[in-house]
Amino acid sequence: MATMTADEIQAIEERFPQVFQRPMHKRFGPLLMLAGTLLYLVYAVWFFNLPQVLRESHWERLPLFLTQWISYDVQPIFPLDAPQITAKYPRFSVLGADPHPDWVKTNADGSVTVLVAGETRSVTFTRTEATIIANGMTVPVSMASGKPVVSGPVPDWITAHDEEVVADMGFAGEVRVAADRVKVRKRFLGWANFVFDPRSPFFEKSAGEVISLIVSGPELKPGTSNLALAIDNIWYNSQWQHGDVWTKLLQTIVMAFLGTLLGGIVAFPLAFFAARNITPSRLANQVLKRFFDFMRSIDMLIWALFFTRAFGPGPLAGSAAIFFTEIGTLGKTYSEALENIDEKPREGVLSTGADNLMVQRYGVLPEVIPVFISQTLYQWESNTRGATIIGAVGAGGIGLKLWEAMRTNSNWANVFYMVLLILLVVFIFDNISSFLRRRLSRTIHDYNRLQAERS
């Protein structure tokens, strides 16, 4: 490998002074910016009191919440003070009113076995002793003394408290043994009762059974066809509230559509008066442009809060908020598009003696309509996402429902269901909008190319 001599290096340095002898501010500018950013971050850490917030946060909840997105649990309690051990289920258990699941077995000698995950993770208990089996170990617990006592060494997956022995079985669930009761939490992957809830006559029937009932079964509820009953039961499923969720989702879509379209309709004529090449009055241009800035800067949130107060919570308030913001956004982009047009077609139409309206119609509109539509579609797409969030302040749509489901901290599966629906809607609308915009941009592109060829 050839090495350069000092002379050669010097020669190169002299030839390119702009590379090797840059002014101070250019050399140290990036460094200063980096230092400034770091200083700001230190300030931000102090400002938000980050160390303390992190110390007090509950990161162990994150995996728990995430498993709740895609799973559900059943928590039977077995009181030990009655002569015979029977399971008690919470009032609104996903298993229905009177469940007899096959993973709870009453043995011949009166003891009960609960299979948390098959025979390898299970608990068998009588009124005085329990045997917990998990991770290849068998751990006997005695309750004879009035307190649960683990006989022998305590493995690390068991926590022995004074009043309670807790056996953690990972994702499958846990077993809590106390002197007077045994509590089991068994976790199942999936969403419980997604189609029919326990109140429905179709509950716990297989898909084949349901279909045959609908096609040719006797009427389960006199006076209603089984199909209508099934649809009604799905729509009003008490756990998943499909009907409510879908209506709210539709509200969100409607809010974005209505707000954007109305904004476009109002912004369209205004943009012509705001564009300085179309309306020669400086005053009108400036007034309208500042008006657009004003509408945009007020922020969708403020509009949403105002209209929620004016119209009451609901999609009307949300649509109005998007509408007012969009007048500003679309007005600005429309008028900028108008200011960037090619003046030649306009002059051509003007020279034929056409009146002002005709000039706009035939000289300006064909050029800007694709751009207008494309920008409106883009806004529609981004408002579909935005409508979710302003919904949470009361402006209607799925946002509020989502926020409530989260605030109660119990129903992460429902949250995930709504998130999936929102993702689906955003995905579909993204694709529709970008497909249409691609078609339009081809039109714009062809137009530009023709122009270039002609000149």
Partner: protein, 318 residues
């Protein structure tokens, strides 16, 4: 000029017919399209009105009543609310407890409550934009078709960024509110994650349009991927990256206000409370502060963007 009698040859007739057919077909399509749009508009309006708590025509006459609470008894209260100066109308209620929110820095010098809240909102926006930028830059080089180290990696990163972009911010905010407690940190995480996706997409689209000659030059002298990205690609795209980041700051200030309103702290929360309780002077002060701040940030960022990348930052072409 005399108009010569039109010569009807077969060819011109055919051409004219074809043209007429085309225009009438086009007109039909336009009419149908506009008609469909109007039907959809009317339908959705009816739907929105039906589903709303108050109905449009029912509430319209009262819209000015609703605005009446906004008018304060004394217009000076707006300034007093803004700067936490005691009001002569103070009657012990929350509506006029302006000096209560003062945050004393030293001695008698204090930061008015609303300015402090605005600062929180701004800091949330800045920190989350910073998070977005730091992750979006490396992601964008991986996701760009022409620069990616491996196509499979590119696909994964692209999908991941799409997911971050589409995932509702409010769900992330809600999830982390349950973990790090409700407040600005949850808002930062939510907006930051969203910004990674949004900025990453814009960045990799810029990367795909760069001049590859510098990259080829470095490849020829045996530079590895990091060196090529650092010395050939980054200098080309950095001004554009900065421009989009500034735009993102504008968007994130708005986003952090909204997240604030649903519990992320900052000025959004205060505004929501103030409007829902009908505190005229406080609401006006908050709106004024928010409006001015957003306006100034927009103007400053527009000026800086114009300096960085010129007029192209404002191109409206589709």
């Amino acid at each position: 000029m005399t108009l010569s009698a039109t010569v009807h040859s077969d060819a011109t007739n055919q051409a004219a017919d074809a043209w007429r057919r085309q225009t009438s077909l086009r007109r039909l399509y336009t009419t149908l399209g506009v008609g469909l749009l109007l039907v959809a508009l009317a339908g959705t309006m009816w739907f929105a009105d039906e589903a709303n708590a108050g109905h449009f025509f029912e509430r319209l006459p009262h819209i000015l009543d609703f605005l009446s609470w906004l008018v304060p008894k004394d217009w000076n209260d707006v300034w007093r609310a803004l700067f936490d100066i005691a009001s002569p109308h103070d009657n012990g209620t929350q509506e006029y407890n302006f000096p209560l929110g003062r945050a004393y820095v030293w001695g008698n010098f204090y930061i008015p409550e609303y300015f402090e809240l605005m600062l929180t909102t701004l800091n949330v926006a800045l920190v989350s934009t910073f998070i977005g930028f730091v992750f979006a830059v490396p992601f964008s080089f991986i996701a760009a078709r022409n620069l990616t180290p491996h196509p499979v990696l590119r696909l994964i990163v692209k999908r991941f960024m799409e997911l971050l972009r589409a995932f509702p911010e409010i769900v992330i905010a809600g999830l982390f509110a349950a973990i790090v407690s409700i407040g600005p940190i949850a808002a930062i995480i939510a907006i930051g994650l969203h910004s990674i996706g949004a900025l990453g997409k814009l960045f990799y689209e810029i990367n795909e349009n760069i001049d590859m000659r510098a990259e080829e030059g470095l490849r020829a002298v045996g530079a590895n991927w990091f060196e090529r990205v650092r010395f050939a690609d980054l200098p080309q795209v950095l001004p554009n990256f900065m421009s989009y980041t500034l735009l993102r700051i504008e968007i994130n200030v708005r986003a952090s206000t909204i997240i604030g309103a649903v519990g992320g702290g900052g000025i959004g929360e205060e505004l929501k409370l103030s409007i829902s309780r009908g505190f005229g002077a406080k609401t006006l002060a908050l709106v004024l502060l928010l409006f001015t701040t957003i306006f100034l940030i927009d103007q400053f960022s527009a000026w800086l963007r114009r300096k960085l990348v010129g007029e192209q930052a404002f191109a409206t072409g589709a």
